[in-house]
């Protein structure tokens, strides 16, 4: 029961805040909604018993990415954003496309209907750590190059200000 309440609450939070991200006119508000939405997703992870992921989501996503975005919004945003239209002209076709997507996606839950968890969640940190340093060491290391590349890029573009 509690499980269900939690799920529906989280779902409501996620969906509403996602809609906020997409629809709210102010980018600032959107960014705040994004933070909320990410937190909601973190909650879903927690409810699914993924402790490590939950932590990563909070740490990296909510605090890292959302804040970063906020930061940029503050830098690049302008007051006129609040009064100008934030949704472009192709919203109607987009809506139709999204409807089509929903129609396709609904087959997936329908296909997997009625599957419940067979066991209780167990702590995963150790297992994940083992995998990351074991079989997944190569991708794990690779990620660092990806990050390095992105940092390089950020530095490159940020430095342009000086010119």
């Amino acid at each position: 029961m509690i499980e269900q309440i939690v799920f529906y609450m989280l779902a409501a939070v996620i969906i509403l805040s996602a809609l906020g991200v997409v629809l709210l006119p102010g980018v600032m508000h959107s960014a705040l909604c994004l933070g909320l939405c990410l937190a909601g997703v973190a909650g879903v992870f927690a409810s699914l018993g993924s402790d490590f992921i939950f932590a990563a989501q909070i740490l990296v996503y909510v605090s890292g990415i959302a804040v970063l975005i906020l930061f940029v919004v503050l830098l690049a945003g302008s007051a006129s954003d609040l009064v100008t239209r934030q949704i472009n002209e192709q919203w109607l076709p987009s809506l139709l496309i999204c409807a089509a997507f929903i129609w396709s996606f609904l087959r997936i839950p329908a296909y997997f209907s009625g599957i419940t968890a067979k066991s209780d969640p167990a702590p995963t940190v150790r297992a994940l750590a083992g995998a990351l340093l074991g079989d997944y060491a190569v991708p794990f290391e690779l990620i660092s190059i990806v990050l390095l590349a992105s940092m390089t890029g950020a530095v490159l573009f940020a430095r342009r200000k000086a010119e």
């Binding site: 472009n88 192709q90 076709p93 987009s94 496309i97 089509a100 997507f101 396709s104 087959r107």
Partner: protein, 645 residues
């Protein structure tokens, strides 16, 4: 003797080249070489003739060498000599020789004198080749070659547009007939599997060729003769061909080339004889030609054209003779006609040389100034008209006899034509040589031609006078051409005497009438002409045949330009009609047509391609969310597809 016959055309051919290349350094600017060869050729022919009528030759003589072979079919070059060949050889060489001698005087001072002799030699070569060829392929080749020589010689004075036009007209009109010849030749080949005349004749004799096929082939071949021998309705070219020098008219358009059609029919007579339809076609075409051409001559004022119409008419007689079953008669008439018509042309040439006009209305009274020409012309005219005992009497008589034997109507037509012949010849004679000079300046200028021209006239006049009588003695000619009865029908025996009497009477009367009218009552013909203007006009217009063919030509021209427009504008578009339509629609939506090379380069397909290209570019709006939308659309479509499958 016979073994050397093949040299005749080769030598002429070679001498043509020699004259063209080295004429400048030869005596007489090449004329001497041409004449020497022609003389030698005539000597050969004469010897052959003599021996043949003495029965000292083993005829038919045949020899050939392979020319080329494709698969199992072999084409040969060879010689086939029989009496017919010899008869023709004599005609060709004799007239050729005399004409070449005559031309020395006639063409004196012409800037292209050398080339003239080269052409004449080339023509002689081709004509000899045609005469002695042992197979129809080479026959056809020579047939075409004489046509080209005729083209070159008619248009010899090509600065005159009318001459250039006449040459072309002659060539194309005969070519029209040659199409029939070609197809006929092809079908003959598929009936017999060979081109060799001896084999064809043999197969025809033994009835190997189905009569229907033989008839078809024969009629198709006859189409060639219709063109070459200026039979109805392709007779239109010959009067215009008079634009050429008169000796050329004498040689080519009177004596030899135009007779080639007759010769061809005679050569393949065994094939014709298999099919009564073919023979009747020949006979009736000949009869109609004889009549129509004679009637045209009645109203013509151009001296040479009168002779040309006369030639056509006489060729019609030959065909009539052949078609009616009078093989010997036809060939006999060919022979005699060659002499007297060549004579007439050369005499006319002499007149024209003197007065520099062809128009008889500007002549008159010339008999005093040019006695030799006058007398020879008179003899030729008498021969042509068929006054006994001149040559024409014998041969025309034979033709009419054959016609009567075959079909009285044929005979009637021939007889009427004969009367007309007498009339127009009298008319021409009187207008040219008698009466008062119409144009004193020209009359004063006129003089008798030099001996080099009158000499041949006299020789030909002699031939015209005696050849008929001489050749019909002891049936020399008949034995020479050695015609064995292969006719599919019985020929009634007709008394030559009665026909002869009738014909002679008609000729004399008609000629007398003509002479009287034009000499004493010149007003009457003019009055008649005015009264029957439509008829005269019709005759002047040659029954509208020219107009008919010109319409044909115009139609061809129109068709060709229509096709060209089609080719230029539509052909590329037709295959892609729908695309073109689409293009048009699209083009209205967008102003898409600029003038770059590619656009023009690709016609309709290209245009459509380009339009599609522009459409493709339209998607590239530059706005990234449009791109994203396209992707989303695509993915949802694929999802739908994937699930649908």
């Amino acid at each position: 003797m016979l073994e050397y016959v093949f040299i005749l055309p080769l030598l002429s051919f070679a001498v043509a080249g020699v004259i063209l290349a080295f004429g400048k350094w030869l005596p007489g600017r090449g004329a001497s070489a041409g004449i020497a060869v022609a003389a030698w050729g005539f000597a050969q022919a004469a010897i052959l003739f003599t021996k043949a009528i003495q029965g000292k030759l083993a005829l038919p003589y045949e020899v050939s060498i392979p020319w080329f072979s494709v698969g199992s079919t072999q084409a040969t070059l060879g010689v086939y000599v029989d009496g017919l060949t010899i008869a023709m050889l004599v005609v060709v060489t004799a007239v050729s020789l005399l004409v070449q001698i005559y031309s020395i005087g006639y063409m004196r001072g012409d800037p292209r004198f050398k080339r003239y002799y080269a052409y004449l030699s080339l023509f002689t070569a081709s004509m000899l080749g045609l005469t002695i060829s042992d197979n129809m392929l080479v026959f056809f080749m020579c047939w075409e070659l004489v046509g080209v020589c005729s083209y070159l010689l008619i248009g010899f004075w090509f600065e005159k547009p009318s001459a250039a036009y006449a040459g072309k007209k002659a060539f194309i009109t005969t070519k029209l007939g040659d199409l029939g010849f070609l197809v006929g030749l092809l079908s003959l080949f598929y009936c017999t599997g060979t081109f060799r005349i001896s084999e064809i004749l043999e197969l025809a004799h033994i009835g190997f060729i189905p009569p229907a096929a033989a008839g078809a082939a024969a009629i198709l071949l006859f189409l060639g003769a219709v063109g070459k021998s200026a039979q109805f309705p392709l007779l239109i070219w010959l009067p215009d061909a008079m634009e050429g020098p008169s000796p050329v008219s004498a040689l080519i358009h009177a004596a030899t080339m135009v007779a080639a059609g007759v010769y061809m029919v005679a050569r393949l007579y065994a094939v014709y004889a298999l099919s009564p339809v073919a023979l009747d076609t020949v006979a009736w075409t000949g009869a109609i030609t004889a009549l129509t051409a004679a009637s045209m001559a009645l109203v013509c004022f151009d001296l040479k054209r009168v002779l040309a119409f006369s030639t056509v008419s006489q060729l019609g007689y030959m065909m009539l003779g052949l078609g009616a079953g009078g093989f010997t008669a036809g060939m006999f008439h060919l022979t005699t006609h060659a002499y007297f018509k060549a004579l007439l042309f050369l005499a006319a040439g002499s007149v024209i040389h003197a007065v520099h006009t062809n128009d008889m209305r500007e002549m008159g009274g010339l008999k005093n100034k040019m006695p030799v020409t006058y007398i020879t012309f008179l003899l030729g005219a008498l021969a042509l008209v068929g006054i006994p005992p001149f040559a024409g009497f014998f041969s025309k008589d034979a033709v009419l006899a054959a016609a009567l034997a075959r079909n009285p109507y044929l005979y009637a037509v021939g007889a009427v034509a004969a009367a007309m012949t007498a009339f127009y010849m009298a008319r021409a004679l009187v207008m040219t040589f008698h009466g008062e000079p119409k144009d004193m300046k020209k009359y004063d200028h006129a003089h008798e031609s030099p001996p080099v021209m009158t000499g041949p006239l006299i020789l030909l006049a002699a031939a015209s006078v005696v050849s008929g009588w001489a050749l019909s003695r002891h049936e020399i000619f008949e034995r020479l051409v050695n015609f064995e009865g292969v006719l599919p029908f019985e020929l009634h025996h007709v008394s030559h005497g009665a026909v002869a009497l009738y014909a002679g009477t008609v000729a004399v009367l008609s000629m007398g009438l003509g002479a009287w009218l034009y000499k004493s009552k010149p007003g009457i013909p003019a009055m008649l002409r005015g009264k029957f203007a439509p008829v005269a006009g019709l005759l002047d217009r040659r029954y509208g045949l020219d107009a008919f063919f010109l319409k044909f030509v115009a139609l061809g021209d129109r068709l060709s330009s229509v096709l060209f427009i089609f080719d230029l504008n539509f052909l590329d578009a037709i295959a892609i009609d729908g695309w073109a339509w689409l293009t048009e629609k699209l083009s209205r939506i967008q102003r898409w047509f600029d003038d770059n090379v590619v656009d023009a380069a690709v016609d309709a397909t290209g245009t459509v391609t380009l339009c599609a290209g522009r459409l493709a570019r339209l998607a590239q709006t530059g706005i990234v969310q449009n791109y994203l939308l396209f992707i989303a659309v695509a993915v949802s479509v694929f999802a739908a597809l994937a699930f649908a499958g």
